[in-house]
Symmetry: C2
Subunit: 533 residues, 2 copies
């Protein structure tokens, strides 16, 4: 490349980052602790080793691991040489793991020893893999029947540091698979340029209140590195010179120990991880170390109850929104200047909302004619976006790509309203929405309200086909204590009287079930519920 | 453009910025106050008006003004339609202003009424200009002999808001001229992409300690909009949703009034402006409004005495470094994590240094063989850079462009050392450096030390050709009180004894002069001094 045409690639992170923060630390549990300079040296050696093994630009290189320093090194070493990092979702069942690796055509696989047995069992299926690169947390010799196999540490030790090539910024750097609620996982890809611009966008977002991330913050990521590349934080952290703590496989006790010992101040996670931490049986002895912890919550809406529980520990929680297809950052619930004078309680309500678009994210909420909905907190539209870091495609799936990018906008499939202050509130997934008489009934709002009835445990509202209205809502409910359909209906009419829901939103029927069916990621499985109608 | 290929252009700033900060204010003295939304509406009307006047993509549109809201609108309206904003340096003598406008080939000129007489006098020379767009701070009718002329406000009022086109990010957005110490000014150009990436780089820098800029800060820029596009702050401010105060022509009293009335918290400027403000005769009555003011200083080194004076007012000053050719941000004297535990006084010394490279800036300090100098605080090298926002060229000057970008690195011509903590200290301009026996004598360090001798007023060290050593240093000195060459030499030898300078740096001669010759920007004119040798 012409040096005047500065390429926004992964390698461009290092010169300034090493200069300003070369002595900054990367910590993996209590197993490894090293500086950025040592990290970069290992990354360059490993990258050169990959080249010597025969990895070519464009080759897919998979990783199967928890959040370790080997994984972090791979985040840089693989794209550094123009190859594509495939972050395999190790939470999938083995046959889906095989499906994604086969679909990607992974040429080399970097794999933690504990995942070897799963692969060894089906070794003959992986004939597309040209080499297995294995490692372990221990110094013991690694035994495997996989062939050919290489020891990660031997590669690092025996290779010279590569002089990083100047990669064209449009080169694909990462690939991972996202499971929709139907069908097989779909691959999404991100170029070097997108990862850099996303990291910058994220850096600009988290420097604002109430997060106020500065040079002193210590990061501990709790979104797995196999999941939407941990929301881009592995690139953000190194770019901005943060002390970065890698937790390995998530274990609440270990996480709390790391927060305590490494003085962690910032993390990002889905709500269920936060819930798991705050309800840990020994939480009281760690409470004082959680005071001042700043947490971005995404992946699902942040329930107010959980946010309040966090606040009681002195934790600041901020909602954010995005999806695999969007790298993921789209919005964050940060403060704008005009919020500064609001009462604390009101600020708190905004902090747990979907928030406002991040810098340079061109986000719209539109009706089916692409007309923007008014900021009235009630007109529902779909969120569509353009931004510097969206996936161009579903890998090898032009048909679904066409659907995703219909009319030149990435369609999120999420339905939302906007309040008068511009804060977005997601009310439904489009495919979960109930459309009655041509109008949406927001199932998330309806479910939240039904869940306030004391006897109700979990609730899911879905649409049943209706000859007159198109669809009508039905509520599936598990009970914490005994009640009747009639009593629940009475409660719902009271909500109508107080103006919290519309009369025509009231479900046509209530179906009691013993337990809610769940997806592999712990969400309520509405697809399964539809079969029960 | 394909919407998947998100273009980093000026127009991409608005969707998120209006969403998050649509009610945020832009203030021009006590003359105009309006919201981002109103600003954007006027920008789009003015842009459409320009199209209707015949402005085509690539056309140069000049502005002659102080820092006004009309200027800010032009910063967006001109590039919005693919035209090139030429920010004319109105501090140049009229013949140089003409030279730059003629060299640029400005097709339209946006001009404040007070600059009309200067242009009218030489109207026939401006035959390349197809139209003059005039405005005034008053409502009075503007009279001019220029032809054809248009009223800015009439254009805004009579035009519909344009639907901003999706400009290719590599399109040139701005052009301005930079005067070297020799020869005619040279033009530098910046694309949309570079301006966006620079604004992001700047935003990431100033979010760090000790500046800690957040959503609450109020900006008042004190680097003229005709000078290195006010260091990119007009794009940064709007992108990040800041209240933005425009001071018009700099007047210390008015500046202090705006700081007081608009609650300004952040500014950027050259040291002489800060000096002018802090030594203002009525400063005491504004002192309390300066407490907490955060100031970035660039354009020249920040003298420690001035930084201390600022500190006594409660002002935080941070050094930054760049040049016209680099957009300008290259380094800033921010804190890194490992500085947090230093004593305050030591932190202070770093805050006034040249600092460390900004994110993604690949900065090197090298000897003539491109070998990086050690971080020993004494080995001198030239600063060379690659970064996402450097000018590609000197406009229409391939020869000087070749020199600037020799061997694929932008050569700053600045000489510097690096201390063991990685903080850069500029010691000289290459063309001012004295090279004796093949080694550099850092004239800035030598001058600083000579200036500590009580009798010395101003001092400039320059190199005199020497048959044995190549060059030897000579000191030009103005005196505050009577002394002799011998006494000064005695003092210098004491500095050698205490290890602050090397013996061979001591000037071969001292020449007393009555006053220092100065350039148009107030710097000591070493070129003139050389004629006195």
């Amino acid at each position: 490349m012409n040096p005047k045409d500065f390429q926004l690639n992964i390698n461009s992170i290092f010169p300034s980052s090493l200069w300003t923060s070369g002595n900054q630390e990367i910590v993996y549990q209590d197993i490894k602790r090293y500086t950025y300079r040592e990290f970069y040296d290992r990354v360059r050696r490993f990258a050169n080793g990959l080249v010597n093994l025969g990895v070519k630009p464009g080759d897919k290189v998979a990783v199967l691991d928890w959040d370790t320093y080997h994984y972090l090194e791979s985040y840089y070493a693989v794209p550094m040489i123009g190859a594509v990092l495939h972050t395999v979702n190790i939470r999938y069942p083995p046959e889906i793991i095989f499906y994604t690796m086969n679909h990607a055509g992974d040429k080399f696989v970097i794999i933690r020893d504990e995942f070897l047995p799963m692969v060894e069992k089906a070794a003959t299926l992986f004939d597309f893999v040209k080499g297995w690169i294995v490692y372990s947390d221990t110094d013991e010799e690694i035994k495997t029947t996989l062939n050919p196999y290489y020891n990660y540490e031997h590669i690092v030790e025996s290779s010279e540091p590569i002089d990083p090539p100047d990669i064209d910024e449009k080169t694909i750097a990462t690939l991972f698979y996202t499971s929709g609620t139907t069908g097989l996982p779909k691959g999404v890809t991100f170029s070097h340029r997108k990862l850099i611009l996303h990291a910058q966008g994220l850096a600009m977002s988290i420097s604002y209140s109430p997060l106020n991330i500065t040079e002193k913050d210590v990061f501990l990521g709790l979104v797995p590195m196999f999941h939407v590349h941990s929301w881009g934080v592995p690139y953000l952290a190194i770019m901005t010179g943060k002390k970065y703590v890698l937790p390995g496989r998530y274990d609440v006790k270990k996480i709390l120990e790391m927060i305590k010992n490494e003085h962690v101040t910032f993390s990002h996670m889905v709500p269920s991880i936060l819930y798991m931490i705050l309800t840990y049986h020994e939480i009281e002895q760690y409470a004082k170390y959680l005071n001042g912890w700043k947490v971005i919550i995404g992946g699902a809406a942040l329930p107010k109850g959980l946010a309040k529980m966090a606040k009681s520990f002195g934790i600041t929680t901020v909602g954010a929104y995005g999806m695999s297809e969007t790298c993921p950052l789209l919005t964050a619930a940060l403060f704008t200047d005009d919020m500064q004078n609001l009462p604390e309680e009101e600020k708190f309500d905004y902090m747990i909302s979907t928030g406002k678009p991040a810098k340079l994210v061109n986000l719209r909420i539109v009706d089916s004619n692409y007309k923007d909905v008014p900021w009235d907190n009630k007109t529902i539209g779909e969120i569509i976006v353009r931004a510097p870091w969206l996936t161009d495609e579903y890998y090898k799936d032009p048909e679904k790509t066409e659907e995703l990018w219909k009319d030149g906008w990435l369609h999120t499939g999420d339905l939302a309203v906007v309040d008068s202050g511009g804060y977005i509130h997601i009310v439904d997934r489009e495919k979960d929405a109930v459309k009655s008489g041509g109008e949406f009934i927001p199932s998330l709002i309806l479910e939240n309200i039904i869940s306030e009835i004391p006897e109700v445990g979990e609730v899911a509202v879905i649409g049943r086909p209706d000859p007159k209205w198109g669809e009508r809502p039905i509520a599936f409910i598990t009970l914490k204590s005994k009640t009747t359909k009639e009593k629940i209906m009475d409660e719902l009419f009271k909500f109508v009287d107080t103006g919290r829901i519309q009369k025509w939103w009231i479900p046509d029927d209530i179906i009691f079930i013993d337990s809610m069916p769940k997806t592999s990621t712990g969400k309520i499985d509405k697809k399964d519920l539809r079969t029960k109608l």
